[in-house]
């Protein structure tokens, strides 16, 4: 229903790209602790992958969100989580607000090179002190002539060390916390921007994640995305795609984990039979596959609604929540049946176990998703709701 032959073609070319340009290098990138973002993104941009749903005037394909879904899902065929996450930041987290609300000038300056792959983008929301509490972030931009002067810091910034610009959420006034924020495109080579350090993480080893400081960083006011004070609103809209990307990009890795585990346990003989012949093992595979199909069904439904122009924050938050829960369960259960082999550093299932654990933490922890859902259901305690 949702997907046509055109989608299938896109899927095929994404899979071919991943197979040729990403998977052969994944082990090296994991070892190095980063992947060459500029080089890879340039290749992806040339193929149009970085602008599937972006307008044609910035070099995008101008397709609807259903194609982004196909793209995101197939990015999941990569043998680690780092590159799909970085691509998600570039296409679904740092740029939707710019694409939807930004001025033509700003879109040409920052979005077009992000679509072509000439620039790497990051999204600057999370802060050291605030974590998932977006509303109470502290980074601020005060006006000075035609410029903003930005001060503050951002934590856990994916692509942070390699990015050319960051879509920065910061306070531009002392007003109410949902009305005082603005999104600003900040070039990373502006004086006063320092990558304090790249972070050493349990998983997502090939993704560079940075702590970034902004010390009297001067950027022109025209770098602001649309209206001042509406940054929180824009970011909430942007979050929809972020959450769906998260869930979408985990479907294939989970399926592959199941498939690989089935193959491994079928071949591996123990106590006179294959491991797969154990009823608890094959039942478990069926149970987990059921959960994956449930998630897929929900994500597709949310995607359909998004294509139809609806606000899908509710379903997207559910998808993110379930995705985070499920990838933990799938990777944990599968790893169990690989035994010692799965525990070796190089094993793919071990990598999913480590990479996937971030899903329930990054981009709004499970508890934040629950908080959002409660708000939609209007069941938060009265006072906190105001």
């Amino acid at each position: 229903m949702l997907f046509t032959e055109q989608h299938e073609e896109l899927r095929n070319s994404v899979r071919r790209f991943v197979e040729a340009e990403i998977n052969p290098y994944v082990d090296d990138w994991e070892e190095e602790g980063r992947f060459p973002a500029h080089e890879l993104f340039k290749k992806m941009g040339s193929q149009g992958f970085l602008g599937v749903d972006k307008a044609e005037d910035v070099g995008g394909m101008g397709l609807d969100y259903s194609y982004v879904m196909a793209f995101a899902e197939e990015m999941g065929t990569a043998h680690h989580g780092s590159v799909p996450m970085a691509v998600g930041v570039q296409t679904a987290m740092a740029t939707p607000a710019l694409a939807q609300f930004g001025s033509d000038e700003l879109r040409q300056e920052f979005l077009a090179p992000a679509v072509s792959g000439d620039m790497v983008a990051a999204i600057g929301v999370t802060e050291p002190g605030a974590g998932s509490d977006v509303a109470s972030l502290k980074t601020n931009a005060r006006k000075d002539g035609d410029d903003y002067i930005i001060n503050g810091s951002k934590m856990f910034i994916t692509n942070g060390a390699q990015a050319d610009w960051v879509c920065l959420l910061c306070n531009t006034s002392d007003g109410p916390i949902h009305r005082n924020k603005t999104l600003i495109c900040v070039p990373m080579n502006t004086p006063g921007v320092t990558v304090e350090r790249t972070l050493n993480k349990m998983g997502m080893r090939a993704s560079d994640t940075a702590l970034i400081f902004f010390d009297d960083v001067r950027v022109p006011q025209r770098n602001r995305i649309a209206n001042e004070g509406e940054g929180f609103t824009y970011q909430m809209i942007q979050f929809q795609e972020e959450r769906l990307w998260g869930a979408l990009s985990m479907l294939r890795p989970m399926e592959k984990a199941i498939q690989d585990t089935i193959e491994y346990t079928r071949d591996r003989k123990i106590f006179g039979g294959s491991i797969l012949d154990n009823q608890v093992v094959h039942f478990r595979m069926a149970e987990l596959t059921t959960e994956i199909e449930l998630l897929r069904s929900l994500v597709y439904r949310a995607g359909e609604d998004l294509v139809a122009g609806e606000d899908v924050t509710y379903l997207a938050s559910m998808a993110k929540l379930k995705g985070g829960r499920l990838v933990r369960e799938v990777s944990d259960s599968c790893l169990q049946y690989w035994g010692g082999m799965g525990y070796m550093w190089e094993s793919k299932i071990g990598r999913l176990f480590r990479d996937g654990r971030l899903m329930s933490i990054g981009g709004g922890a499970d508890e934040v998703m629950l908080q959002i859902l409660c708000k939609y259901m209007d069941i938060l305690p009265g006072r906190r709701n105001k």
Partner: protein
């Protein structure tokens, strides 16, 4: 001395309490400060063995004539719990690898062999390891393929072993070999020294337990004197099985210890960390998570103590020990997972106990018999 979470108990005497205190200070002084460094370096200094021997850590339960210290099993429980406070399973695994590597020797070995091996191991001068698992067989000992063919007064050993803790640095290896026909009846245990020609080792990289030197072993026509046989020929399976109970009790104690460490870390963090304008601990879901963790840990500890005592009464507790291992390791997984969730991004960064323990859950849930194998075994023991 302040030993938290230490209720009044039927099982612990003043001696136990004093020993726990010694261990706690040892861990705090000699291990905890270096845990991250050693884990990242994938090695800890060999001197740690000697230091451990100085406080009596390595000798527990071994015969005094070889330098051991006579004591009951609760001392081992204490060791597991206290070492777990450093949150670095790799250090524990290798530092104590002789507790899986030498019990067969202590129980079934000849006096000559014991005298040759045990004193230096218990003094922390030499390292001992156990080598049973093979690439093709996993937990299925019956499939053992490494052979030891008799040739005069020697055996000629050929084959491979995998996932051997302390496998890189050990001086003595208790190796399960096939001396007879197929199946469980043809297995023997041989003590093989590291420097025998034809015996090679390669290090393995793992998700966790980095400080532990885990190795694959290769035996290529390795000549081992018959005097190195541990116990009787072809009787190796029984000796291996016999020690599984203790290994599983020990792993359960450790797993519950790591779970407790996760609870402690998460509790401190939740009290300090502010989000959405209030301390994390003021979230009811966070407090309930912590209580859920404590509930599993405390019931597990009660079960552990009960089984340790029953085992000391010579009761047959195989089924319960299997169930305890599942309970304890799933408690560890639960607590690591919830602690990670409470710590959030901070928990995901390398260098903290929770991050390390999270990566060490699976080796506990798989090693010493996976949850599935434990349940199969328990079921058989229960007559199901």
């Amino acid at each position: 001395m302040n030993i938290p979470n230490q209720p009044s108990s039927l099982y612990y005497t003043d001696e136990h309490v004093a020993f726990r205190d010694t261990m706690r200070r040892f861990v705090e002084r000699e291990i905890e400060p270096y845990a991250t460094e050693w884990d990242e370096a994938e090695e800890f200094p060999r001197e740690l063995y000697k230091k451990a021997a100085e406080v009596g850590l390595l000798q527990l339960g071994y015969p005094e004539e070889y330098g051991g210290i006579t004591c009951d099993r609760f001392f081992n429980v204490i060791v597991a719990q206290e070492l777990a406070r450093a949150g670095a399973g790799g250090i524990y695994a290798s530092l104590m690898s002789h507790t899986i590597g030498t019990p067969h020797l202590a129980q079934f070995g000849s006096d000559e062999l014991k005298a040759r091996v045990l004193p230096s191991v218990l003094a922390g001068e030499k390292i001992a390891a156990l080598a049973v698992t093979e690439p093709s067989g996993g937990s299925d000992v019956a499939q053992l393929k490494t052979t030891a063919k008799r040739d005069g007064d020697d055996y000629i050993v050929n084959g491979q072993k995998i996932f051997i803790t302390s496998g890189v640095r050990a001086d003595f290896y208790t190796v399960a070999v096939r001396t007879g026909g197929e199946g469980l009846g043809g297995i023997s245990l041989l003590m093989i020294e590291r420097d025998r020609p034809g015996f090679e080792r390669t290090k393995l990289k793992k998700m966790g337990w980095w400080a532990s030197d885990t190795a694959a072993l290769y035996f290529d026509d390795v000549r081992v004197p018959v005097a190195n046989l541990i116990g009787e020929e072809h009787q190796g399976f029984k000796a291996i099985m016999h020690n599984f109970n203790y290994e599983r009790l020990g792993m359960s104690a450790s797993a519950l210890g790591y779970a407790q460490t996760c609870l402690d870390e998460a509790t401190s963090y939740a009290k300090e960390r502010h989000t959405f304008g209030k301390p994390l601990i003021e979230n009811q879901v966070i407090r309930h998570k912590l209580v859920d963790m404590a509930m599993r840990i405390n019931s597990g500890v009660a079960y552990l103590e009960n089984l340790t005592w029953r085992d000391m009464q010579k009761e047959r507790v195989v089924a319960d020990v299997c169930m305890l291992k599942v309970h304890a390791t799933s408690t560890m997984e639960f607590c690591a997972n919830e602690a990670m969730q409470i710590l959030g991004g901070a928990g995901y960064m390398r260098g903290g106990k929770v991050e390390r323990i999270y990566r060490e859950c699976k080796v506990m849930a798989i090693g010493g018999g996976s949850a599935e194998i434990m349940k199969d075994l328990a079921g058989r023991q229960m007559g199901l």
